[in-house]
Structure formats: structure tokens, C-alpha cells
Amino acid sequence: MASGEKRVEIEKELSFGPVHPALIEPYRIRLFVNDEIVEDCELNINMAYRGIEKLFDGLPVERALLIAERVCGICSHVHAWNAVRVIEGGLSIVVPPRANYIRVLTNEMQRITSHLILFGHAFEVVGHETFAMRSFLLRESFMDLISYVGGNRVMPSVPIIGGVRPRADLTESLKRVILERVDEFEEKYKGYVTRIIEDPLVMSRLTGIGFLTKEDAVRFYATGPTGRASGWDYDVRTKMDEYKPFEFNVITDESCDTKARIVVRALEIFESLKIIRQVVKSLPEGPVVNQSWKAEEMDFTTAYLEAYRGELMHSYALDSHGRIRNYKIRTPTPTNLAAMEHACVGDHVTEAILTIASCDPCLTCCTRAEVVDSGRSRILSDFEIVQKYGWRK
């Protein structure tokens, strides 16, 4: 993307994926390299295209929300939550405060697991198996907590329209368990992070590569930790009502490189722990679900949420039967893609892949526009789209 102006002769192309140790999901990295230096990069993400937005069309809204959770297995909760926030906003459904607290709690717990996946993945890419394993080990304690709350490790399906599932209500003993685990985790995690930051070999791999300046971050709209690591102080949580009761800092870093992206996430986990403690300690009493709502016609409504990788948007309308029309999801990764492609230019091949990993690419959610035709790609004409998918109502 960057080398648009100056034309460089490109010697060869290296392509990886869609099945490859560096990728945790099917996508393809095409690196254009001279000798070992990446001159340009293209990420082809359409291998995970499942047509998920189309699936929603015509489903009753309660059903649809369970698909929304399946958009992604890493940030399943944000999708489920944001999907219900759309209808709650559009039809002014009141959510009991206790339910909001529990939603925030689940969100922050899953944010921690998600960031720890990134560490695991990034250190696999760095080649440091031990750190990757320790990260996955630390992650287990929060996977347990999520499954205590939601009944499932990956898809806890905590939110429902108007609140949270009664199953996810916090009992006194669960509250105690959470607080204990958080303390235990924090201590171990501190040791882990210090150890990483002190390791000269690992740090020499991370520092000084994958620069993404603040201007570029804003220009490409690199949201979430990717943008915050370039000094762009943007976090949807600061604007959300649900987060009003809680005290936390937005972590930013000015150094703009791969290390910054890791460090920002590492520090964000401490903020999440802070929020979790506040939730558990000041959890209001009361019901967890408000069932006095009725699905009716709703105009397009949009909801924004800070997912673990950046800003997430869900939007849909309801027809008069309470069925979903024209669901749209914009997940954080598509906007980060351009930033990733930009950031890895000028680095060694092995480092370019690390840079891409450090932006936490996670693409199953964002593949919607499909490249058709094998061999030579082309864009579908309107007629073909209609032929293939039928008219939209």
C-alpha cells in the first residue's frame, strides 16, 4: 500500500496459507519481497467466507442472536452483546443494571483470554514456545471462570435481549471464586510479563519493526490496541453507558512498533482486572433480565462496542414480524487490515509475519465480500449477485 508512489522492482512473491503454522485461521498472506525484505504485502481474507450476514436475513430476532455469537469464537461475547444492544437501543428496552454489570464482567474476562491468545500466537510466531505455552496456561484460569458463568468455555451465550441468561447470574460463592482467581492470576501474570519484558532476545525480535505512525493509524482507521499502540487514544468503552460506573485507564503507547502493540495489550489486561474487581465488588441487586418486550418493526439501528481488537459495529432492522433484515457487521479486523499490510513493509520476511501477528489478525468475522472465480478474480456484477443470492427485501 505504501509503495504506491515509488515503484520498486519486485523480485519474487512468497505466499503463505491458508493452512500454515503462522495463521490460526484460513487466510493467505502474499509477501512481495526483494531478497529478504518485504516491499509490499497483500492479505487475502476470503477463504473464511461463510456468508454470515445473509444467514440472519429473515430469522426471528432471538434466533439470530445465537448466530451472532458464532461470528467468532474468540470474541463471541462481544458479538452476542452488541447484537442485543442493537435491538435494545432501537426498541428502548430497559436492561437491569445487574445484567449490565454481568455483561461487562464477561466482556472483560473474555478480553483477557483474547489478549492471552494473542500472546500465545505472537510468541509462537516469534518462535518462543515456552512463553506461548505459559500464556495458554494463564489463560486457562479465565476460561474456567467463563465456563462457570456461562456454561461453556468458548460460547458462553450470556446476553439475551433484555438482560442476561438467568444461568449467568452471579452467586455469592461464584463472586468469591472470581475474586480469588483474579488475585492469583494477577500475581502470576505480573511475573510472566516482567519476564518477557526483561528477555533481551525476545525484545530484540520485537523492537524496531512494524512501524505504524499515528497518522497512518488514523488514516487506515486502525482501531483497538493496534491504533492505541500508535498513540491514538481511542476506545469506545469510554463513551459507553455500560462502562460509566467503572474506573479504568485507556492504555496508549507512542512507540508505534510491534513491541508497543504487545505491551499495550499486556497492560490492558491489568485494566480489565481492575474492572472485574469493581464489577464483582459493587454488583447491584435485582433481576437479571427484563422480559417485557416485544419484537416489532424497527428501523436500522446501529450499536458500537469496543471489541478486543477494536471497534465493532452491528446494525440491522426488524420487519413487522420481528424478523431481521439486512444485518451488517463491521468487525475491527477489516479496518486493521490495511494498517497491517502497511506496517510490515520494509521488514525481513520472518518479521513481517510477526508484525501481522502482532496486530492480532483474526479474520473469520470480516470476510464478507467474496472473490469469485478461481484463477483470475473479478468482481461480481449486480446481475450475478442477484442471480446467486436473490433479491434483498
Binding site: P26, G58, I324
Partner: protein, 149 residues
């Protein structure tokens, strides 16, 4: 048990192919391999990324349109004897992507279940299956490999 079967039982190389699920299963498989809490290596199972080395192919996800050919190719590249474990509801029956569609009636973007693309020996249900289910699934694929000539 003869030497051949013993050697096969004592060294199982698994390869993982993600074919476009939601990531949930992928992460749980990675968990089973990388998390010291589960540690597949203690069951003599080793992870590889090279189909030439693999014995058991673990497939997760709905097999999107573009993953069909790569998946077939990977399967072909594994030398006999080999087994396939389909992990997760997506790979087993297409999950919500196939069975819970609104106006469209049929989702043509996915080829799930995995059976329609390559032969499957063991199915591990769950969305997402727990890591211990994944490991058990791999173990269940063994008899076929052990008995092969």
C-alpha cells in the same frame, strides 16, 4: 501387538486444518496442543504442519467454498495409513450456518459437513468441544491406523 502397530501407537503426528469455522474450535485445538494443562504430547501425539508427516488430520470448520480444494489436497498428501477427525459441530453437521438459515433457505457458501469433501473417521461434537474431547477424538481415530497394513 506387533512392532508395526506398537510404533504407530507410540508416535502419532497430527495436522490441523482450519476450514472456516468461527475460530472457537481452532483455539480449543491449539489449547489441547499448547496448553501445558492439556498437553497432547503426553499421549504420544505430536503436532506437525506438514501433511507428509501427519497421520491424523484434524478438521474444524464448515469448509468454505474456497477451502474445498486445499482440504482435498492436504488429505491426498498424507501418506497412508491416515485418519480424519472432524472437530466441532461445524465440521460434523454444518452448525447454525447450515441448519438455521432465514429467507435464503440454503447456504451455498459452505460445504459442511466435512464428510462431503473427505472421508471422516471420528466426529467430535460440541460447539466448541472441550480440549479433552478433542484429544479423545484423536485417540479414537487410532484403531483404524493401527490395523492398516
Amino acid at each position: 501387538m506387533n512392532l508395526k502397530a506398537t510404533s504407530r501407537k507410540n508416535a502419532i503426528h497430527i495436522m490441523v486444518a482450519y476450514t472456516g469455522g468461527c475460530n472457537g474450535c481452532d483455539i480449543e485445538i491449539v489449547n489441547a496442543v499448547l496448553s501445558p494443562r492439556y498437553d497432547v504430547e503426553q499421549y504420544r501425539v505430536l503436532l506437525t504442519w506438514n501433511p507428509r508427516e501427519a497421520d491424523v488430520l484434524i478438521v474444524s470448520g464448515v469448509v468454505t467454498w474456497q477451502m474445498v480444494e486445499p482440504l482435498k489436497k492436504i488429505y491426498e498428501s498424507i501418506p497412508e495409513p491416515k485418519g480424519v477427525v472432524a472437530v466441532g459441530a461445524c465440521a460434523v453437521n454444518g452448525n447454525v450456518y447450515k441448519n438455521l438459515v432465514g429467507d435464503i433457505g440454503q447456504n451455498e457458501e459452505i460445504w459442511a459437513p466435512v464428510e462431503t469433501v473427505i472421508p471422516v473417521d471420528v466426529k467430535v461434537p460440541g460447539c466448541a468441544p472441550r480440549p479433552e474431547d478433542v484429544i479423545t477424538g484423536v485417540v479414537k481415530a487410532l484403531p483404524k491406523i493401527l490395523e492398516a497394513p
